[in-house]
Amino acid sequence: MAYRINPALAAELENYGAANASECFNCGNCSAVCSLTEGETVFPRKFIRYMQLGLTDKLIQSPDPWLCYYCGECSDTCPREAEPGELMMSARRWLTGKYDVTGLARIFYTSSVGSAIILVVLAVILGLVVISSSGSMGLEEIALWSYLDSHAVHNLGLGVIGLVVLFGLVGVINMVAQIGKAARFAPRSGGGGSDWFSAIFSTAFTEILGHRRYITCDEEKDEPWHQQRWFVHGSTAWGFFGLLIATMAHWILDMVGLKETATWVPMYSLPIRMLGIVAGIFLVYGSTTLLMKRINKGPDKQAATSAPSDWVFLLLLWIAGITGFLTLIGEYAPPMAITYYLLLIHVVLSMELVLLAPFTKFAHVFYRSVAIYIHQQRGATKG
């Protein structure tokens, strides 16, 4: 197979991260020190070589960059201090930009001004849509859903989800099509690949929920467990999934006519609310810690450099989590107008968070899941 050389690849990637591939002298220390290499699925050296040689196709046709979790051991021990971990991170940012057809992902990764403008404009639009159907802020008693129209919010939510599914799918299809060019889907003979069902199962439970790779990554670290990356990232992910389920539950109950959104039916409401609170605590703990690590640029290596996209994603997540909690407190506290505004912010930014998912750091949830699935299915054979 012939490959086209793109001499600008390394320079292009430099826009996406803080490392320079030309520092690397190809010694292989990074791949050998990496705790996530499995069989012949080996990185990062090979990918840094692709960057140096301008092998765009090789880079884009592999799911392996997504199997790297930036444990950082490679960067800690690289004799050239070429920051191989950061180079892999840059590759993932660049890939997110490549899979996305709208160009938004590229803006979020490379331009802070652009990111800020999109963020504000979108928030204003979503805010106007939500407010256009809003009612009154009763101050004798907090009645959140007589201020916002739950149906309007649900409908807007539906629209947002529709768009996310659309753009998410386009991104994933692009990714899969690229990887497909290297034709590596069929499990290799003797490669230890799994059938599709067990591949999905282990992707969803062991990898995504169980954070297996993160835990492998952290084995060498001596931070307390609650500061380790698997737990912090896990908290954020579990919290987010929990809240997603809680929110969807209200909406589904409403659709099937069991319970209207603004009403309290203990049999359904109590478990949903409990889930919401627990998940909220995890989300706020996780996202706060992640933000703090990025603000302090450490101790984790991967927190040292942040693209606008990382901030957009984390800030939206954090504000959505915090305002959710404050609104809940407001419901039980003496009635205050601010509670309604908090709800407004919560609804608008949650919508924005979800709507921007295919274009921000959030997108790793899709791409990494797909990559892990492909990896599981084809086994840890040569990439």
Binding site: C27, G28, S31, A32, C34, V42, C78, P79, R80
Partner: protein
């Protein structure tokens, strides 16, 4: 070897091959030289090496005659077991403060018979064999030592008094004390040489805790016929190793260690040790490298010879070394030139090809600047490769940067010539005291 006086034309710091050569070259021209060595014997690293690349000549057979020549030269005075306390500019010369450590043995009377050593009851890990062999609390530094005089290591002395009873010349003097010496010199040649990167520098390589991960200088001793074992054995259990690995650039070309330079000799000494070990036994030897640097005359041929001898040369930077229950070291590598898979390979013995780092950081004891790499700074390295940042101080050998023996000798000659010109021009002279 003359009596210690208080004026010399040149002070040479360090009695390795470079310091000896500089002393001889100056002494032959009629300059009075004081050679100060901090160890009990002169000879530096070279006297402990087994053979030298690329000729495979016996190292001590070349080095010992030079040591003897230096010691017997009418214009050279050796001040061994002596530290530099302070060298300062004074008038046209330098004032020098030295600290002679007590040997507890009268240098002039000891005949080097070793009777005291055989009598002493305490066995101590021997520095000369990089702790693999033993010496006693009172000992002759090593078979080729000059001066061939015993020294008492008081830290390990049990104060039993046995040695004094057997000494045939009554030269053991427990009452000796450290001696401060003040003198004046006209110029200084620094040849303080080198030591290897600390074995624990890279924690991924076991942090100096793995029994069968060995120091390359220790391997030189193990290979020597007068070495600690008498055979090539591994330190954990005396097994004759059947599989040996060399880890190149273990302590060089690695920014995370703060040593980004190439140490120049480690590729060659690894090839040398591999060829020699292979010649004596049925053994597999692998050299893991980033690239083999065979830069000097006859070196490329030497490298080819090693390959023809069946030594495996594998391109891979060893990332980690661990060990199994039998203390067999396991190296983790990416097979770059193969299909790029990551492998863990078990060996009986691993040698870390450590780099060369400066042995002496003067830290205010000598008015010459260090460079960012820690070696002495040579401001005009193209035209005057041995002239330091201070008038009258010249640098020779590895003190100026990594190099092999022939290069160290050439530099020593150059430093001696620079010093002679400096003195002849009248710029430098010892001030009378």
């Amino acid at each position: 070897m003359g009596e210690l006086k208080n004026r010399y034309d040149v002070l040479v710091i360090g009695g390795g091959i470079a310091g000896m050569q500089a002393s001889l070259d100056l002494g032959e021209q009629g300059y009075k030289v004081l050679l100060v060595e901090k160890d009990p014997s002169i000879g530096g690293i070279m006297v402990g090496l087994n053979k030298v690349f690329p000729t495979l000549d016996c190292s001590s057979c070349i080095c010992t005659p030079r040591m003897a020549e230096t010691a017997h030269h009418r214009n050279i005075t050796i001040q061994s077991y002596t530290e530099i306390e302070k060298v300062e500019k004074k008038g046209r010369g330098f004032s020098v403060k030295l600290l002679e450590k007590p040997r507890y043995v009268v240098l002039e009377d000891c005949i080097g018979c070793s009777l005291c050593e055989y009598e002493c009851p305490v066995d101590v890990p021997h520095e000369y064999d990089y702790d693999l062999g033993a010496r006693r609390a009172i000992y002759i530094p090593h078979a080729n030592a000059i001066p061939q005089v015993a020294v008492l290591d008081v830290e390990h002395c049990t104060f039993c008094g046995k040695c004094v009873k057997v000494c045939p010349t009554d030269c053991i003097d427990y009452t000796q004390e450290a001696r401060h010496l003040d003198l004046e010199v006209g110029a200084v040649v620094v040849a303080s040489g080198t030591t290897i990167t600390p074995m624990g520098a890279k924690k991924e390589y076991g942090g100096d805790k793995l029994a069968n991960v060995m120091n390359p200088l220790a391997m030189e001793r193990v290979q020597s016929s007068n070495g600690p074992y008498g055979h090539i054995l591994r330190p954990s259990d005396g097994k004759v190793p059947k599989s040996i690995a060399y880890v190149q650039c273990a302590g060089s070309r690695d920014k995370t260690l703060g040593i980004s330079y190439c140490s120049r000799v480690c590729c060659m000494y690894a090839l040398k040790q591999a060829i020699l070990t292979k010649a004596y036994g049925d053994v597999d030897i692998t050299i893991y490298h980033m690239d083999i640097r065979a830069f000097g005359k006859g070196f490329e041929q030497f490298y080819r010879r090693a390959m023809n001898d069946g030594i495996n040369i594998v391109k891979a930077k060893v990332a980690k070394i661990t060990e199994d229950e039998e203390k067999n070291p396991i190296v983790r590598i990416e097979m770059i030139d193969d299909d790029g898979r990551v492998e863990e390979v078990k060996h009986d013995l691993v040698i870390l090809s450590q780099g060369l780092v400066p042995k002496w950081h003067p830290d205010g004891q000598l008015p010459a600047e260090e460079d960012t790499d820690g070696f002495f700074r040579i401001p005009d390295s193209k035209i005057h490769p041995t002239v330091s940042t201070t008038d009258g101080i010249f640098i020779a050998g590895v003190a100026a940067g990594p190099k092999d023996i022939p290069d160290a000798i050439i530099e020593a000659g150059s430093a001696a010539m620079e010093a002679a010109i400096y003195l002849e021009s009248g710029k430098g002279a010892p001030v009378a005291v």
